[in-house]
Symmetry: C2
Subunit: 163 residues, 2 copies
């Protein structure tokens, strides 16, 4: 039973690492230059602070996920894993939400603020950001499952010895 | 000892509820109309989807925090509280991050996307959104403390009976 749990944990960690790596890489490589009424327009992730945060958050989550696979169950470090999982889960949520909010403005604009949509001009760039967002969302869902699974596992033995 | 823990938990929940209520109310009441080069400009939270999400998320967090105070420790419902705390924590992180990302664009603009800063024109509105963001951040920090405290409490007896 313990072996099955360990296997599920490793598979979920590797899936999270893969999705997080994909999210960071797709975002870093999102770049497009186009001309608009004779003006050259360049779009890249580093022009938006939230997208830089997205890349850093998912790169850290990828490395963290791979490191946690090496942690021996029952060790002192393993007791801190659930806490750091929750922190990583919250950071990834923040990165996805901030990127999602700005992507929505990029796609639809905001007429009240006078912000025009830019995805008509830099279509390819927007598609890549959307790809990064989807990969990031997958990593976030996997992290959510890891946290819920860990909380469930932690509550089970507690119930049998305390209630 | 159990009474002290219960008291700490209730104080944290009430603090979270108060901060969440403040965040939602300040955001809902943020509204300003100004004229800019003869054009009337109106700014209110409902013009931005992320700000609506912010209000809903913090209103739900406020009601949830008050309801959890009523849950009896050791009951079946109490076992689900930590899981729902983590979900609320993640939702609040998303709301703060999305609102923060858009507020940053509102304040500094984004020259590469051609989005001008609007806070020069609607200064009062921006100040209120910033106030909501600060109150929301306080609620988020309190939720983070609640989750970390609960995880610590959950790990303690487990250590004594399993390691």
């Amino acid at each position: 039973m313990a072996k099955v749990q360990r296997l599920i944990s490793i598979v979920l960690r590797l899936a999270a690492a893969a999705a997080a790596a994909a999210a960071a890489i797709i975002m870093v490589t999102s770049h497009e230059t186009t001309s608009f009424f004779g003006l050259e327009m360049e779009a890249k992730y580093s022009y938006t602070p939230s997208f830089i945060f997205f890349v850093v958050a998912f790169a850290v989550a990828c490395v963290y996920s791979l490191l946690v696979v090496l942690v021996r169950p029952g060790s002192t470090a393993s007791r801190l894993v659930l806490m750091s999982d929750v922190i990583i889960g919250m950071v990834l949520t923040g990165a996805v939400a901030a990127t999602g909010a700005l992507s929505e403005v990029g796609k639809n604009g905001n007429t009240h603020a006078g912000w025009l949509p830019i995805c008509v001009q830099v279509h390819e760039y927007c598609n890549r950001v959307m790809g990064a967002l989807i990969a990031g969302f997958v990593a976030l869902v996997v992290y959510f499952l890891i946290i819920m699974y860990s909380l469930h596992e932690l509550a089970e033995p507690l119930c049998s010895c305390h209630y």
